[in-house]
């Protein structure tokens, strides 16, 4: 009877682990704290980027909003994707006087993709909320996929945590 109970427990735990593994989303924290207006890049080895897990269909980015309460604060989060191990990346940021890093008229070279969101501070923001984006580019990540991020803060400092996600 004790053995049966143990086996049952084992099966339940195994099923739970498999479920968690199947449904898992990887989330890497890139930065946290207060950023004055300016341009920032992640991860530390920006030119190489980060290698996400293979076989994922969605890439994402988010910034917490709990402390993003000043309406003067505007934030842009960019994810750049290289599908050839970081050999090719999307074009660089636009030069000043462009306020934001990219615009939709810029041409993407082969083997690259990108996404971005822009948001602003809100005094009525709900605790725990995030500004986020999750994109399916129509192909799965593989061992040649690399991602990197850019943060641009405009107007007033931004406080929060930036994370990159793949699922």
């Amino acid at each position: 009877m004790g053995l049966m109970r143990l086996l049952t427990k084992g099966v339940v735990v195994l099923a739970l682990l498999l479920w968690v593994a199947g449904a898992s989303a990887d989330k890497a924290q890139e930065a946290t704290g207060t950023a004055p207006p300016g341009a920032y890049t992640f991860p530390a080895n920006f030119s190489n980027g980060r290698a996400p897990a293979a076989g994922r269909s969605v890439l994402g980015i988010e910034i917490t909003r709990g402390q993003l309460t000043n309406p003067a604060t505007q934030v842009e989060l960019v994810v750049e994707v290289s599908w050839d191990r970081g050999t090719t990346w999307p074009p660089d940021c636009l030069p000043p006087p462009a306020v934001w890093c990219h615009d939709s008229t810029q041409q993407l070279p082969p083997n690259t993709d990108w996404m971005w969101i822009r948001t602003r501070g809100d005094p009525n923001v709900l605790p725990g909320s995030v500004s986020s984006q999750r994109v399916s580019f129509g192909r799965l990540t593989d061992n040649d996929t690399r991602v990197r991020e850019r943060l641009r803060v405009v107007g007033a400092p931004a406080t929060g945590t930036v994370s990159v996600i793949w699922e």
Binding site: W114, T119, S131
Partner: protein, 238 residues
Amino acid sequence: MGIRRAVLAALLLWGLTCLLPGFSHGAIGIGTSCGSGSDSVLSFSFSCTASGSDRLVVAGSRVYPETAVVTAITYGGDAMTLIGSETVPSGDEVYQYHRIAPAAGSQTFSMTFDMLVDMGAVVTPLTGVHQVTPTGTPAGTHAGPGVSSASVNVTSAVGELVLDVIYLGDDTGMTPGAGQTQQGTASRVYVSTEAAAGSPVAMSWSWSNADSYAMHGVSIKPVAAAGVKRKVGILWLD
């Protein structure tokens, strides 16, 4: 001589059938859809790839709140055209937009709003689409809360492709109707297609938990009809 006449007659018959409504010799191709879901944003962008000839991209999107105004929507930096929209009162709004002859290769799809929004969008690249009048008459519907299926009749014709978008808050068990192919999904926005076998085409979805929804559909016209007249002319000249 008899063979020549038979061939000419067959060609003439083929050409004439192409002139009749409902006949088409082209097929609309469907590329790989791209999708994005975002929360609390003023604008968002992502890249998607279209290739082939006689291209069209169609964006199906959902925006919350419905009072938000789309101040700009572009593909490859070019403005997109609104096909139509459908609103759930005090809730969400779904839109369909298109861009004729979008630039080939990887291009950027972008939407900007006048306030912070939650949204989802699926971009579907198509080929073999009529480059002057790519869409038919759109149709939309909404209902709820408390319903677990949706259907909208879209005016279409044989050879056309019906494309729909639907959004609902709880998409548990979301299933497209018979004959429909789901092309993409993002943040509970679903897009599907069905090759028209006549008119109208009933686009439908069902789901497990009763909820409210907004749905919109349109028929996409193939390019073939425009080229057929030229072929008939050549036949007569010969």
